[in-house]
């Protein structure tokens, strides 16, 4: 793998395009209209085509204007069809953008003889060719694609920085925004214009599929990872730039390892983008699959160990600290009432976990609570019996139902709640059956 200045320009173009898409795309994601990016990015084609035909040039600013106008037209048509056409937002977008896209294709076909434009260029882009077309900017020869996407990125940065709080409000609650003097319609069409400009600028650099990916995936990833708007946008931009860099590295670095030619950079970037999202999906600290699963497992473990402790506390209650249970009948009765009657492996696992934590010790095949274990067990018994007292006194729950109700809540009761419960009940010393509530 050899990194050349050409590679730097390719990555720069894709990274800047990605950052621009990630910014406007984040607001689409937050407004729950991600597919509007898809719709607009396809629907602008007739705008581009007409601009080409009128000016017979690819470099003109007319292209931006044409695309932006059709972008807004798309948003307006989608709104009108949804309002009066008795269809949902998705169907309305589907109708508008496919028709406009097809019109664009026809126009380009007609014009292909006169101007240098091909549908493939518009659709699939050609990031590898970015360094080849240069224009003079401020006395330096820069790749045209890089200049164009930089303009789009600057437009995004300026608008979102200037109207940060207005977008924060109008994206969260458009109706409230309108009553507060931030016209939600204006903000909506401003966003649509930005999306149109951004997608058109990014098209020839990275192609339409990667544009849609860069609009949606960074925002979706940021949603998993952040809880504030500014970090949200920052993470989205970082994800887009990382995908550009890693995607190009993968495109030129990975296939040769297996004896193949370089692969498509844009395709590789989109795959990396998907990979980054998947990593966040799995490992996000709060919303990730792993975090949720481990929280669930943690809860089950704590319920299991508390149940075992509760059982041990009940069978050893009243007996001398180190001796065996009072009678076999008592032990059996408590055991049958415990959740372990139907799953003895749980009991064994719970005992093992408790032994590892030093709350239970084992001697000659017999289990006994340690000092710390007795304290923990008393706390559980206390919570359980306080809840029984509460349900019996305050809610009139029947004696036979008490155990179940209390059994559930005891796992979710921390020291604070336990204290409050005791105060509420005027510090009772016995449960409804007259058994002692341990201190």
């Amino acid at each position: 793998m050899i990194w050349t200045p050409l590679d730097t320009w390719i990555v720069a173009a894709a990274a800047v395009a990605g950052a621009a898409c990630a910014l406007s795309g984040s607001f689409l994601v937050l407004r729950k209209m991600s597919m509007m990016g898809d719709a607009i990015s396809h629907a602008v084609l007739p705008g581009i085509a007409v601009a080409f035909i009128l000016t017979a040039s690819r470099a003109s600013g007319a292209l931006f204007i044409g695309a932006a106008l059709v972008g807004i037209l798309t948003a307006v048509l989608v709104q009108i069809i949804r309002q009066y056409g008795r269809v949902d937002h998705g169907a309305s977008m589907g109708v508008v953008f496919t028709v406009l896209f097809a019109i664009g294709l026809l126009l380009i076909e007609r014009a292909a003889g006169q101007v240098d434009i091909h549908p493939e260029h518009v659709l699939f882009g050609s990031v590898e060719l970015v360094p080849l077309y240069t224009i003079r900017v401020l006395g330096a020869d820069l790749p045209r694609g890089v200049v164009v996407v930089t303009i789009a990125l600057v437009a995004n940065l300026v608008v979102f920085a200037a109207l940060f709080k207005e977008f924060r409000l109008a994206t969260f609650d458009p109706e409230l925004a309108t009553t507060l003097g931030v016209n939600a319609k204006f903000m909506h069409y401003l966003l649509m214009t930005l999306v149109a400009i951004t997608t058109v600028a990014s098209f020839e650099v990275v192609g339409s599929i990667l544009v849609v990916a860069m609009l949606v995936v960074p925002g979706a990833t940021a949603h998993l990872l952040t809880r504030r708007l500014l970090p949200f946008l920052t993470v989205a931009v970082v994800v887009a730039i990382s995908a550009a860099v890693l995607g190009h590295l993968a495109a030129i670095g990975v296939p040769p390892l297996f004896g193949f030619e370089d692969t498509s950079t844009a395709g590789s970037m989109a795959v990396v983008l998907g990979g980054l999202f998947f990593v966040a999906f799995l490992f996000a600290p709060e919303h990730g699959v792993v975090a949720k699963a481990s929280a669930r497992i943690g809860l089950r473990v704590s319920i299991l160990t508390q149940d075992v402790l509760g059982l041990l506390a009940r069978v050893t209650e009243g007996a001398a600290p180190t001796s065996t249970p009072r009678t076999t009948t008592d032990t059996l009765r408590e055991y049958r009432r415990s959740p372990f009657r139907r799953h003895r492996s749980g009991l064994r696992l719970g005992l093992t976990l408790l032994r590892l934590r030093g709350l239970v010790r084992q001697r000659d095949g017999r289990y006994a609570l340690t000092g710390a274990g007795r304290d923990a067990a008393s706390r559980i018994l206390r919570t359980h019996r306080l809840w029984e007292r509460f349900f019996f006194d305050e809610a009139g729950v029947d004696l036979s139902e008490l155990h179940h109700a209390a059994d559930y809540l005891e796992h979710y009761t921390d020291a604070d709640l336990q204290g409050a419960l005791s105060e509420e009940l005027s510090r009772p010393v016995t449960d409804p059956r007259g058994r002692r509530i341990p201190e």
Partner: protein, 273 residues
Amino acid sequence: MSVDTSAARPSPAAGDASVSRSDTALRVADLTVAYQRKPVLWDVDLAVPAGVVAGIVGPNGAGKSTLIKAVLDLVPHASGLVEVFGKPYRKQRSLVGYVPQRESVDWDYPISALELVEMGLYRKIGWLKPVTRAYRTQALAALEEVGMADFANRQISRLSGGQQQRIFLARALVQDAAVYFMDEPFAGVDAATEKAIMGILQRLREQQKTVFVVHHDLETVREYFDYLIMMNMRVVAAGRVADVFTPENLRRTYGGRLTLLDRAVDAIGGIRQ
């Protein structure tokens, strides 16, 4: 049907010329709203005096929320006039505060409770300008007032339903409006929040604000409100609670769904479709 009770009310808080010009906080005339050609509000007339806490009650689908949204220009009206203190609503926007239904927004949105409350100050802050520390302090004070200061930096999805409702109210408080519209603030809240909302209503009443509250629980009407709008597509009755909260009006509001008017509306819908 127009019920005028604007007489014999003290003038609202002085100091704001546009407020003191009229004793009628909200005047609605001939307001009709239709979704998909089917009318949901039919010829609504109202004249509500300044300084009252007004409940808006009626069965599901009676158009209570739609009335608020039509007044706030959030749904297009087929016809009608809305005046706030004697001038069209559009000219009086800065005098009006809105508390939407809690379910109407996405609570996963990445902002904190404090940032949500700050939104109520955006009009005062103005376009393009950032939220400065002075404004932040105001928002914090409002959070304090609704007992939510400890949660200022919490992301809004990590609040309970009642807490979410309270930060909505804090946002309305920082607006310092003359007229408030609250869409079901009491829906599904805990006892602490209910008490907090009642305290806020009481305080707004003392400050001579006018408050409209869409409400479901008929048992608390006498306790919370001094003015009542009973509606079922049209206004059945509006006036002092003591005058209009009668069994007869309740029956006309809630009972006998298939009134002559309903039948007429169904017939119109059938022809147009």
